[in-house]
């Protein structure tokens, strides 16, 4: 059976049983009230596209022990967006939270490195294929029929695997060097 707490503000009008006219032990009213959230624009407000108000990561952070019997409800009522006057197709604002400029620079450096490796790998593969053609090992029609080197990769998988391994080693080396460089810049 449950304990029925009527609260401190309830009235016992008689002939009741089982009611406790107090709040639950350690209890009280647990409420989160967000009132009158308003976005106000003075002057003209221009917007192109849909308008939205986004409330993210609303959380209740209780320190200590919080007991609650029942359900938590987050009620967002009567959120209105009202535009009066003219609305112009102009982007007004963009909010970005938590950006780290050094992190962006590292990412950029990695992109540059990866591009260099890719070009190096392509050049090595092209050089090997050209040498195979020069030696008469690889029929030229294979290349004509398989310009994406698919057939070549099948025929000379071992050689190309070695090239890829070399490229991976090179990639790791360059990355480490770049990161060391960037960390030095950050410090």
């Amino acid at each position: 059976m449950a304990s029925w707490y009527a609260g401190n503000n309830s009235t016992n009008s008689g002939n009741n049983t089982g009611w406790i006219f107090t709040v639950p032990p350690g209890g009280g009213t647990l409420s989160l009230t967000l009132e009158d959230i308003a976005i106000t624009s003075s002057g003209s407000l221009s917007h192109n596209g849909s308008a939205s108000v986004q409330l993210d990561d609303i959380s209740f952070d209780g320190s200590g022990t919080v007991g609650h019997d029942g359900t938590f409800a987050l009620l967002l009522d009567d959120i209105d967006v009202t535009a009066s006057g003219s609305v112009q197709p102009v982007i007004v604002a963009e909010a970005i939270g938590g950006a780290n400029p050094w992190h962006e620079r590292i990412q950029k450096a990695r992109q540059i490195t990866e591009e260099r490796i890719r070009k190096a790998k392509d050049k090595e593969v092209a050089d090997i294929i050209q040498s195979l053609l020069d030696e008469g090992v690889l029929p030229s029609e294979v290349l004509e029929q398989n310009p994406d080197y698919t057939q070549v990769r099948k025929l000379y998988a071992a050689q190309l695997a070695q090239i890829a391994q070399n490229a991976a080693i090179e990639y790791e080396r360059i990355t480490q060097e770049e990161e060391v460089l960037l960390m030095m810049l950050i410090d």
Binding site: M1, A2, T11, T17, G18, G27, G70
Partner: protein
């Protein structure tokens, strides 16, 4: 025993002797007549027209009435008149305004009723143990009742026209019809057969009134016909046997019914004759008890433009016909193959108008009228925007109605209160519903889907698809009431709004609420009425029922399990039955929630709360007698309540 003659012209037939003489044209001062005395009105009663007003319950043995020397004698008054012998009226010279009840009370036989074409206006009762009366001419006494209580009444083979022929009680009595044609504007009522000897002869009984009954008491009849042209509404009682049973003379676009409370046997032919307006002028042959089949055993049938509901065809007849509609629950009847028709008629029209074509641009023909098993489509072809289709004839059997393609404005005005629906009903956003009529979904198989396209209903909607399902295709909102009495109603988790909701009966039915929010806007003791929940399977889902009326209303839960119930209006909410809820909430304060005393409500959650200055009162319906609130475990935490007569556990 004496014979008295009326003399002295105009006067009252009462306890005085002024107008009674012992000789034709003689001096007054005799009488007044007793039940043993014969009375005569003759040419010497007065030289010119005169009026006799019957007062103070006159009596006589036999009465003979003829006109004066010139003009008419007018029989007037309203006093009851007891006649212990015969009645003989001359063919001319009589004006009848008298409307009092006439009782023939003789206790011997051999008496006659000869009216010679005079139109009577009184109820005639034959009530004399051992008495016997025979018509001596045709009898016309329209819109009145001929009651046989005791004694023998014989039509003498003459035609007899009246409102109702009725016999009841247990006294010894006989009713002999001979070869008469009996025409009744209301009913044939054999209410009891104890003590009754019935001789049907070769008679024909025709019911020619707009409504009435044939309570046959299981007797055997010769020919019985229903002849009213504009949609007769006839109830047939008793397991009767007929030589022939016919429905003829239909005209106009009305729809009638013959409702059977028992099985019937027709040794000859069961005829539903073609109407003058083919197609939409229809007769619904149905069981008087929805869902309980009646068997008609017939040697032969001739059926045109008829609908059947809960009828089993039997006998040697091949049960087929022309334009036969299947309103469900039938067997051994071959119905027309389902067809698709299109409305193609301009302007505001009735549903039963000649507006149905086989293509969207085809020429309408009455014979295309959509039957219950058909599909009716409205396109943008015709009518033009702004027109109204009036669904205003009772007993229209709506087929599947598809208005998906309709983008031009069109109104369905539903004002008739007995509209039956048998398929899906799909509106478009261009349409409007109006009228305070009522629709009952009666499909007996499959799923009928109601798609409102955001349009508000104004009608009463009842769901009664025995063995079948009606479901929503989108949100349903009505200012009228809704009920579920049979079959399955599945909201498909769409929201429902209606004034009141009732499913209080003992039929097999299922209510699947899904995650719908039901908004009950009405008030009163039947706002939500599941008080009789026998046969009800209620699937509460995660639904919420919100009772929003600002005046008092009742949630009669019928001791079932619900999900959420919300007190959503200022009017006090009474909860009856011992129900189970996931949660009880309120969205208004102040307000009152009253639990029927001595009931038990069980909750998983209980969240009634007032606010400062606006308490929520919770109490029991009878002061001093508690209601019980039960929650299994945990705490209930409320505030701002005013609590009385409630036992919480």
């Amino acid at each position: 025993m004496a014979t008295y003659y009326w003399v002295g012209g105009t006067g009252n037939w009462d306890a005085t002797t002024t107008h009674w003489s012992n000789a034709s044209g003689g001096a007054g001062g005799f009488g007044p007549p007793t039940s043993a005395d014969d009375v005569i009105f003759d040419s010497l009663s007065n030289a010119t027209a005169y009026t006799v007003t019957l007062l103070t319950a006159p009596v006589c043995r036999s009465v003979t009435v003829a006109g004066p020397a010139s003009g008419n004698v007018t029989l007037a008054g309203t006093a009851a008149w007891s006649i212990y012998g015969s009645m003989t009226l001359a063919a001319t010279g009589i004006t009848r305004t008298y409307t009092g009840a006439v009782t023939f009370a003789a206790t011997t036989t051999g008496w006659t009723i000869t009216t010679n074409g005079q139109t009577l206006g009184s109820n005639f009762t034959f009530n004399g143990v051992g008495g016997g009366w025979t018509l001596g001419s045709a009898y016309s006494n329209t819109n009145t009742t001929l009651q046989l209580t005791a004694g023998s009444f014989d039509t003498g083979g003459y035609s007899l026209t009246t409102g109702t022929i009725q016999t009841s009680g247990s006294a010894t009595r006989s009713l002999t019809l001979g070869a008469s044609t009996i025409t009744l504007s209301a009913s044939w009522n054999i209410l009891t057969t104890t003590g009754l000897t019935f001789s049907v002869g070769t008679s024909t009984i025709n019911l020619n009134g707009s409504s009435g009954g044939f309570t046959g008491a299981g007797l055997t009849y010769n020919n019985v016909g229903i002849t009213y042209g504009a949609g007769p509404l006839i109830s047939v009682g008793g397991a009767n046997t007929f030589a022939n049973f016919s429905i003829t003379g239909r005209s106009g676009l009305a729809i009638g019914y013959v409702s059977l409370s028992s099985n019937q046997i027709i040794t000859g032919t069961f005829t539903v004759a073609a109407p003058t307006s083919l197609g939409a002028s229809r007769m619904l042959i149905q069981s008087a008890t929805y869902g309980t089949a009646r068997t008609i055993t017939a040697a032969a049938v001739s059926l045109t433009d008829a609908d059947f509901q809960d009828i089993t065809g039997a006998g040697a007849a091949t049960w087929t016909g022309t334009r036969l509609g299947n309103a469900g629950g039938n067997s051994n009847i071959t119905f027309d193959t389902p067809k698709t028709v299109y409305w193609n008629l301009s302007g505001t029209q009735q549903w039963v108008a000649n507006g149905w074509a086989t293509t969207s641009t085809g020429t309408p023909a009455r014979t295309n009228y959509p039957l219950a098993q058909d599909t009716a489509i409205f396109t943008d072809n015709l009518p033009a925007a702004g027109a109204t289709i009036n669904i205003n004839s009772n007993y229209i059997c709506l087929p599947t109605v598809d208005c998906t393609a309709r983008t031009a404005g069109l109104t369905f005005s539903i004002t008739a209160t007995q509209i039956y629906a048998f398929g899906s009903f799909t509106l478009s956003s261009a349409m409007t519903l109006s009228g305070g009529g009522a629709l009952a979904w009666m499909n007996r198989s499959g799923i009928a889907t109601i798609t409102s396209a955001g349009k508000a209903w104004t009608q009463t909607v009842s769901i009664q698809p025995i063995g079948a399902t009606v479901q929503l295709g989108d949100a349903f909102s009505s200012s009228g009431p809704m009920s579920v009495s049979n079959g399955t109603f599945d909201t498909q988790s769409y929201n429902v709004t209606c004034s009141t909701f009732s499913t209080s009966n003992s039929n097999t039915r299922t209510l699947s609420l899904g995650s719908s929010t039901w908004t009950i806007t009405g008030s009163g003791t039947t706002a939500w009425n599941a008080s009789v929940s026998t046969g009800l399977t209620l699937n509460p889902g995660s639904s919420t029922i919100s009772m929003t009326s600002a005046t008092a209303k009742t949630f009669a839960g019928g001791t079932k399990t619900y999900w959420n119930l919300n007190q959503g209006g200022a009017g006090a909410l009474t909860i009856s039955g011992s129900n189970t809820f996931n949660n009880l909430t309120n969205s208004v304060q102040p307000t009152t929630v009253t639990f029927t005393s001595s009931t038990t409500q069980t909750f998983a959650n209980f969240n009634l709360n007032g606010i400062a200055g606006n308490l929520v009162t919770i109490n029991a319906s009878t002061a001093g007698t508690r209601a019980n609130l039960v929650k299994t475990g945990g705490n209930v935490s409320c505030d701002y309540l005013n609590i009385k007569d409630l036992a919480a556990a």
